[in-house]
């Protein structure tokens, strides 16, 4: 069943952070519906290169939905219209002949545009640096089975740990909040006994760092959960809230 479609792309082009940027329109003919979205951009880039123009810059790496590097807003939806899918795993068969696709970078004050669709997501790393770890020096770990972890807790921790750090939650949130990202890490570590000793400090420091980076505030709109390619639940945000209250009101952390 070989099918191909014609689509029109309206892509955000911005030469550098300082550039004002604009949309450019590219008609694309005979796009195989078996192509992934990024392969479709590859085809366009090859054509642009041949015609002496600069190809569109976009971040991508593993192309199997796990590294979290890719991402763009397609017709108003981060990672495109399919549920639980990264842009690299989105295939052209989900579009129709004649579709107009408006492709924009993640928009957030905390994610400045580097070029075209590429943004700087270093802010997410900053949140992790503030406390997204368990302090255990190499070699000092106890026997792995000496700390039983209830299966349910391990499963929930894994649900949260599935976050790929792509930033779609921030891009999707009408407030530009990074709560789902921060919550996934706090929740993952708070659910495990290994993470409890540092839980209070971690919650306070990560939230404090997040607040200082220019993200918006969570108002429980749940667009993050709906657009997250790993379908991470806002129940983890509720857990972050609990951890934060507990840390502020019932721990010695200041």
């Amino acid at each position: 069943m070989k099918k191909s479609i014609h689509v029109t792309l309206k892509v955000w082009r911005q030469a550098s952070g300082g550039d004002k940027g604009r949309f450019e329109t590219y008609p694309l003919k005979d796009i195989s519906t078996d192509m992934s979205f990024l392969e479709m951009l590859d085809v366009l880039n090859e054509a642009l290169t041949h015609s002496g123009k600069e190809p569109i810059a976009f971040d991508h790496d593993c192309r199997e939905g796990i590294c979290g590097m890719c991402g763009a807003v397609v017709n108003g939806r981060p990672h495109g219209p399919e549920k639980g899918t990264t842009l690299c795993q989105l295939h052209m068969r989900h579009f129709s002949d004649g579709d107009v696709l408006v492709i924009e970078p993640w928009r957030s004050r905390a994610f400045p545009v580097i070029k075209d669709l590429v943004v700087d997501r270093g802010a997410l790393d900053q949140i992790i640096i503030a406390g997204g770890y368990i302090s255990v020096n190499t070699g000092s770990a106890p026997e792995a089975n000496s700390i039983p972890v209830p299966q349910g807790a391990a499963d929930k921790a894994m649900d949260a740990a599935a976050c790929i750090g792509c930033g779609a939650c921030v891009a999707a949130c009408p407030n530009g909040s990074a709560m789902l990202f921060a919550a996934a890490k706090v929740s993952h570590l708070a659910l495990l006994p290994q993470g409890r000793p540092e839980a209070a400090r971690r919650a306070i420091r990560m939230v404090e760092k997040m607040d200082g980076l220019g993200f918006g505030n969570c108002s429980n709109i749940t667009e993050c959960e709906a657009e997250c390619p790993k379908e991470i639940s806002i129940a983890h945000i509720a857990r972050l809230n609990r951890e934060f209250f507990r840390a502020q009101l019932a721990s010695d952390e200041k």
């Binding site: 070989k2 030469a15 550098s16 195989s32 519906t33 078996d34 192509m35 992934s36 392969e39 590859d42 085809v43 290169t49 041949h50 600069e54 190809p55 810059a57 971040d59 790496d61 593993c62 192309r63 199997e64 796990i66 590294c67 979290g68 590097m69 795993q89 295939h91 068969r93 580097i114 590429v118 700087d120 997501r121 790393d125 640096i129 997204g132 770890y133 368990i134 302090s135 255990v136 020096n137 190499t138 070699g139 770990a141 106890p142 792995a144 089975n145 700390i147 039983p148 972890v149 299966q151 391990a154 499963d155 921790a157 894994m158 740990a161 599935a162 750090g165 495990l192 290994q194 993470g195």
Partner: protein
């Protein structure tokens, strides 16, 4: 050059203990006087950065992506092996060691592999303590599953995302050291050259991918953890940015490259669907537990699979390997699929696929059982291909997956260049000619957490190292030559794009230096690679300039190196006149088409030394000595 692997004396189980005792130590107060560069932030680089910084060294860590968390270790699905014997099946360090040596078709060092098995348990402890959410039994203790090439369940896993979780563990340990000020992180940097001063690695040149700026970094040692070179084939399961450049530049600066022709081709990948395809996706090999592999009996049969009656299907694996059936090892399954497609029996639009059929399993166990076992894989398959594997058989084809070859290292993980240490997939050390499933993660973390922290100390303590900084003329020279390479690429302004060349190179390598090789084809490939390389230098088009974020330029540099490196692979494949593991030379096979080793002549590591532009490299042989295992022929009939 004399290759000295520096394997410690003494009985196998005592070698590592003894070596650690004999290694000189750097006192805690003195560690802060040493700077270490770590290139790459996958399992090996991330864990090494964390562990070295914890000891008090000053670490500078570089990665090509926007964040260290994105290195391609993240894509590993299955799991990580350890000899914990939690399942009480009689597993032991010795058994893990033996399985790994045998799985590698007896082309790896006993001492290294035994050490790997010894360390495996501590890795699990470390990762659990970091908060890696491994699968657990209802009682709260760790769960295990079985994996290819072993008769015990020793694989620890976190759903289908074990690599991701282990990487995030190493990443978080490293980020803790960033917070402590002991690791300085340099994302979006590509290593373009190694700086060697007085025969020792003392620094690197990097290109800032955002600005194009050439930067120099000096240190007392350089740790390379830049992964494998599978992308020389263009299509592979590797990430798009995985490349050989850093390793290849070290090779050009004097580090020997070992066994470059050892590549692993994984049998169950989603087939190529069109000429625009950019990468291949792996499907866990566990699918072969219930799926039956077949092709039509008649070549060129274009009917839909459902329309082909039982009598006209050839379940070739079950037919050829009655006792192992669909569960033959990776290399055997891959070669068999290729043979069918070469005979014109391949299916799908391209004719480069075979069926993996779950019809009988669904009839036998019911859809619910199959869904429980493989639901997420079926869903992934449907997402990519748009076909429902519950109704129509999956189509699969082998794909390049891992490279066992890499820079030659001794027992200390140091290359033939003093001060250059190589970890993880970038080195050649532990997997011989074929890697077992769930062993790559083990090796990367063993190297980073538990080997380099000791051996690098031994190097520092035993070597007088003068202070050098970026003003040393060697840095200027390295910057100059890097800049020249970039200027040359930008100046060509030819007609063909970088990807176009890369795709053609991949085709050559896949056809002549892929699953099945022969001397004639390899010779032919050598000529074709040279011709393509010459055309690349005349006719490549790299748009844009150096001083901006320029992804075409990044790729051009990597493909330029692949075009040189590919020839080294072919040279190595030609020199190894035997078949072993992933290297299958058609002239050397048993009557039933199995790989036929030649232990009398090729029981060695082939380490290649660079001799200069367009000159044949020199081969050094490190003999492999087996004192504890008996070399045997693998059979799966």
């Amino acid at each position: 050059m004399e290759l000295n692997a520096k394997i410690p004396e003494g009985p196998l189980p005592e070698k590592w203990d003894r070596h650690r005792f004999e290694l000189k130590l750097v006192s805690p107060a003195n560690k802060r006087k040493f700077d270490i560069i770590v290139v790459g932030t996958g399992l090996a680089g991330g864990s090494a950065s964390a562990a070295l910084a914890e000891l008090g060294y000053n670490v500078k860590t570089f990665c090509i992506q926007d964040s260290p968390r994105r290195a391609h270790s993240i894509a590993a699905q299955g799991g990580i092996n350890a000899a914990k014997n939690y399942t009480n099946e009689g597993d032991s360090i010795w058994r893990l060691f033996y399985d790994t040596i045998k799985g590698g078709d007896f082309r790896s060092r006993e001492g290294n592999v035994y050490r790997l098995a010894q360390i495996s348990n501590a890795i699990i402890d470390q990762c659990v303590a970091q908060g890696v959410p491994f699968a657990r039994e209802y009682g709260g203790l760790l769960a295990n599953r079985s994996f290819g090439g072993a008769q015990v369940s020793r694989t620890f896993y976190a759903r289908g995302q074990t690599g991701q979780q282990l990487l995030l563990g190493a990443y978080s340990a490293m980020m803790r050291q960033v917070a402590a000020g002991r690791v300085r992180l340099f994302p979006r940097r590509e290593m373009l050259d190694l700086v060697v001063i007085d025969g020792r690695a003392r620094g690197i040149v990097t290109r800032n991918l955002l600005t194009g700026a050439m930067e120099t970094h000096s240190a007392h040692a350089v740790v390379l953890a830049t992964g494998g070179y599978g992308n020389v084939y263009f299509l592979s399961t590797n990430a798009m940015s995985s490349n050989v450049t850093a390793a290849y530049r070290c090779y050009k600066r004097g580090a020997c490259f070992a066994n470059p022709c050892f590549t692993q081709i994984h049998p169950t990948c989603i087939p190529v669907h069109g000429t625009y395809q950019s990468k291949l996706t792996l499907m866990s090999e566990s699918l072969r537990n219930d799926g039956r592999v077949w092709v039509p009996v008649k070549a060129g049969d274009k009917r839909r699979p459902e329309e082909i009656p039982e009598a006209e299907r050839d379940y070739y694996l079950e037919r050829r390997y009655p006792s192992f059936g669909n569960l033959v090892p990776r290399d055997v399954a891959s070669r068999a699929a290729k043979a069918q497609c070469d005979a014109g029996k391949g299916v799908g639009e391209t004719g480069l696929a075979v069926y993996l059929d779950f019809r009988d399993a669904i009839r036998r166990d019911g859809r619910a059982v199959i869904e429980k076992k493989y639901g997420n894989l079926f869903q992934m398959y449907e997402k990519i291909t748009g076909e429902d594997p519950y109704k129509t058989p999956m189509m699969i084809y082998p794909a390049v997956h891992y490279t066992m070859g890499g820079l030659w290292v001794d027992y200390n993980l140091m290359s033939t260049l003093d001060g250059l240490f190589v970890l993880g997939e970038a080195n050649f050390s532990d997997h011989g000619a074929n890697r077992l499933g769930a062993s790559a993660l083990m090796q990367g973390l063993a190297d980073g957490y538990f080997i380099i922290p000791y051996t690098i100390g031994g190097y520092f303590a035993g070597t007088p190292l003068e202070t050098v900084d970026g003003t040393h003329p060697a840095f200027g020279e390295a910057i100059e030559s890097s800049r020249k390479r970039i200027d040359t690429l930008l100046a060509v302004d030819g007609r063909r794009t970088v990807d176009d060349f890369h795709r053609e190179l991949g085709r050559i390598m896949w056809d002549y230096c892929g699953m099945s090789r022969n001397n004639e084809g390899l010779e032919k490939a050598k000529g074709m690679i040279r011709a393509l390389r010459a055309e690349f230098r005349e006719n490549v088009r790299v748009p844009g300039e150096n001083e901006t974020f320029n992804q075409s330029l990044e790729r051009a540099g990597r493909v330029a190196d692949f075009l040189e490196f590919a020839e080294l692979m072919v040279t190595d494949a030609l020199a190894r006149q035997e078949s072993c593991g992933g290297h299958f030379n058609e002239a050397y096979q048993t009557p039933d088409h199995e790989a036929l080793r030649d232990d009398a002549h090729f029981c060695h590591v082939a380490a290649w030394e660079y001799q200069g532009e367009d000159r044949e490299p020199v081969l050094h042989k490190e003999p492999l000595v087996f004192e504890n295992v008996t070399l045997a022929q693998r059979s799966y009939k």
